[in-house]
Subunit: 284 residues, 4 copies
């Protein structure tokens, strides 16, 4: 099970024969398919596919696969992404003062549950520096305030580039990234502490308490320029009652947040998420 695989993600206009075409291409080149998942969005007229096959015994090397996939996508008027399971994605974690999500991600990375490399943690506060030290992860303190926000974001973008970061994870970062930032670095996952689209924006637990809800939630989503509006990857909930004060919602919420974020990260890292039309297909 642990040998290396190639993973293809494809989106293209739907038409008959696509599954056969893709599977046929893998088979023709000697590939053994481990997972093949497809979805047709009838409204959008789109075909989505994720195919994972063994590299062992495959007749093409990685460069040739890459070229072949490009030309395949071109033929199908689609877009393709190619990944290799043994190339660990480099992930930067953004945090602020709260430790629960950061600790959870670092622990899951160190135990091998999340297959990623975390070269650096970025924070606008120094509180979590010791935690990063314990995991031997570089901690970059980038204070964030309105006068220096552009400057701070520029510095962060430079860091992300310097460390070849594929994706940034906002692990309770509590800062809104500018649209300039997202244009320069669009691969960002956020954990929002509500059941979106309810309670977008600030202080969702306070507002949930005030509304008297009986369930609270957490939502892991890709970040877009519109606040808390990006494609949703995972949502989790917890029960609350009239006995719960705001601080109890916050406490219960910590568990839903870290579970939702960890699941979303795993799905992303396994290349099981395809984003299209503002939403996600999750092949799990």
């Amino acid at each position: 099970m642990s040998s290396s695989t190639a993973i293809l993600q494809l989106i293209c206009p739907d038409r008959p024969g696509l599954v056969s075409e893709l599977a046929g291409w893998v088979a023709t080149n000697g590939g053994n398919i481990r997972h093949a998942d497809h979805h047709t969005d009838l409204n959008a007229g789109l075909f989505l596919s994720r195919i994972e096959w063994d590299l062992e015994g495959f007749l093409l090397n990685r460069d040739s696969i890459s070229s072949a996939i490009k030309s395949l996508a071109c033929d199908l008027s689609g877009e393709a992404q190619l990944y290799f399971s043994d190339e660990l994605p480099k992930v930067a974690i953004f945090a602020s003062k709260q430790s629960h999500c950061l600790l959870d991600l670092l622990w899951r990375a160190s135990s091998g549950e999340l297959q990623m490399e975390v070269p650096l943690v970025i924070s606008n506060h120094k509180d979590l520096e010791p935690l990063c030290a314990q995991f031997n992860v570089l901690f970059e303190y980038v204070p964030m305030n309105f006068t220096s926000k552009k400057e701070a974001e520029d510095r962060i973008i430079k860091l992300l580039s310097q460390y070849h970061i594929e994706i940034a994870v906002l692990a309770k970062y509590m800062q809104i990234l500018s649209s300039d930032f997202l244009q320069a670095f669009p691969n960002v996952i956020n954990i929002h502490h509500s059941f979106l689209p309810a309670f977008k924006g600030a202080q969702p637990y306070h507002r949930a308490w005030k509304r008297g809800v009986k369930l609270i939630g957490a939502t892991a989503h890709y970040v877009t320029a519109t606040l808390d509006d990006g494609p949703i990857i995972e949502q989790t909930i917890a029960h609350v009652s009239h006995r719960d004060e705001v601080e109890d919602l916050i406490r219960k919420g910590r568990d839903t947040e870290r579970i939702a974020l960890a699941r979303a990260m795993r799905l992303h890292l396994k290349r099981q998420v395809i984003v299209y039309s503002g939403r996600t297909a999750v092949f799990a």
Copy 2:
């Protein structure tokens, strides 16, 4: 267990000694307490209590209990409600074209799971008349359109009065009751097919699908003049994926709707819900 009980619901300003005072009053009059639940809302400075005790062996008769409770509430500057478990509440169910919630409530009433009497069903369509006939429940057809809305509501209010209805249940009624109606008859429970406060108003499943959520929900709540904003009694959820079309959300939603509504009705009928400050305390 099945012998009759009295149930007191009390809200009053918080101060030390209230639990003792209430329990002491019951004990002094020979009552055996079955359930005693209390909650203090620290923000509001309010004390909420629900006490249920056996009528068998109690020294006061029902009228005397009623008088005593009134004077007790007055002494505490609070408000009290008194119920007797053997007096079945009369409930009117409002429905439209969809049968799932109506059938569910009628079945639970007939099996004794929901201890209520349903003297009539009111609907703006005739589709569900045969279903009501099967359960021997009077079906009142009250068409609802904008020219006659006031007239229609007046007729409904007259029916509710005529049949001594305590509470109306909107079991997918799909109509918005006017504030005039609610002033005349304020005791109404609704099932909304979303996880409030997300997707208030019309077509929540369509909007949930469009947003790409991974969970859908249903919310049973008391109705107020502001749409989908009343005190929440119960919320349930169901998982959805990218494979689910809008009609799948609607199908999965039917189960969450009827479960949420049935649970809310049971809580209400057992007098386990106290409404205050736009929210509920649920002593279950």
Copy 3:
């Protein structure tokens, strides 16, 4: 979406190229694949596949598809099942005295949520005859006691044959079918009122209460000769607390039972369940 489809379920020894081969066969014959799901059981060395494609435009007629599938399965040393989505399965529901599962299934069938035909209900008690009359379903009273058990089962088998029943559903039937019966008619789904393998056998709620569990469950499974040991299709749970008496577990359990059974029936009817090695793959 509502046009007719063919559904192939295949189990065969795993080897490279199978996905391509199956998809290629469909494509070659002009088929448009709607759903293609595969699973490899590495321990067992088995490949499982479910492929659903449009009949409209397909070059082979139903008989030819059937022959082709047989020969395909033979070539792959596997076993195949072929279904057509517009051929409604005939289902017999077995019930006893409790109505909740029977009513639920009949209602879901009548509303079109469960795409099946229910020609008859079989029961060892007469209690549910009126309910069946309301849905215009034939009710066969087959009393079951130890002296006549063989006789009773023989009569049931004759009825199942007479009405061309594909599958029997034990909707709280509370009787154990003999292994002779199952040999004669092996397609049976049961709902067991516990979270299997906990509390196999009689009175699971009483035993759950005694054990002091905090969750109760229901399990829908295919029936085998060993009691409560067949392949599991679906499991659901409900929370309980020390406040719940046995009758509360039974009441809460009714909702988990009917939800689990309805979901399992839908999966079965959609041909989304493949049974192998005493377990199920569920392609939902």
Copy 4:
């Protein structure tokens, strides 16, 4: 909210007037009740009560409260426990090689979410010593094998006594404590990686996989001399599918285990759990 409270847990034979008597005693001595929860086990004829009141303004000091409670319990032929919220319980965590539960508990203790003091961690392997060092917690390596089991347990009992440990938590300790040990030190909470009573004993995930269940669970319970049979405090579940291998069950299980254990610990530490007749009442 953060001022100190006294918490009384009482079990005694049921009779009318008990709620009034207890609440009256608190009120008479100037106490303000924050929480009062009661339960009557009708089968056992037992009354259970948990009352929490403010120490500020209470007329009796701690010693006098203690004496009064003892005499109260004696009068009622019952048993009482008294706790003060500002006296942090001393907890010993037992671990083996897996870090997830240990890390989770240490982090929750350090963040103040679990109000306990952890003077030492005991383990039969050295793997987790560095983790304990990071949290400045004493790590005692007590190898456990059959020839030395009695010796090892004696050493542990001595440690527990030396550090004034109130309760031991088996955080994936993977060792069975002898009945001699439990007689000497009976206060032990365990996390078992199954939905008890299913899959008692060794390798529950392997057996769950083999059985083909669709849900896995974790159970936090007090330990008794009979394996995996003690009073259950909390149970959690996770969904699994045919795609999940045993290692996936183990991975998903880690999250359910640590959540169930953390919740159980919180309930225990808040003195919200009363054990009686082999089961628990949880006043949450």
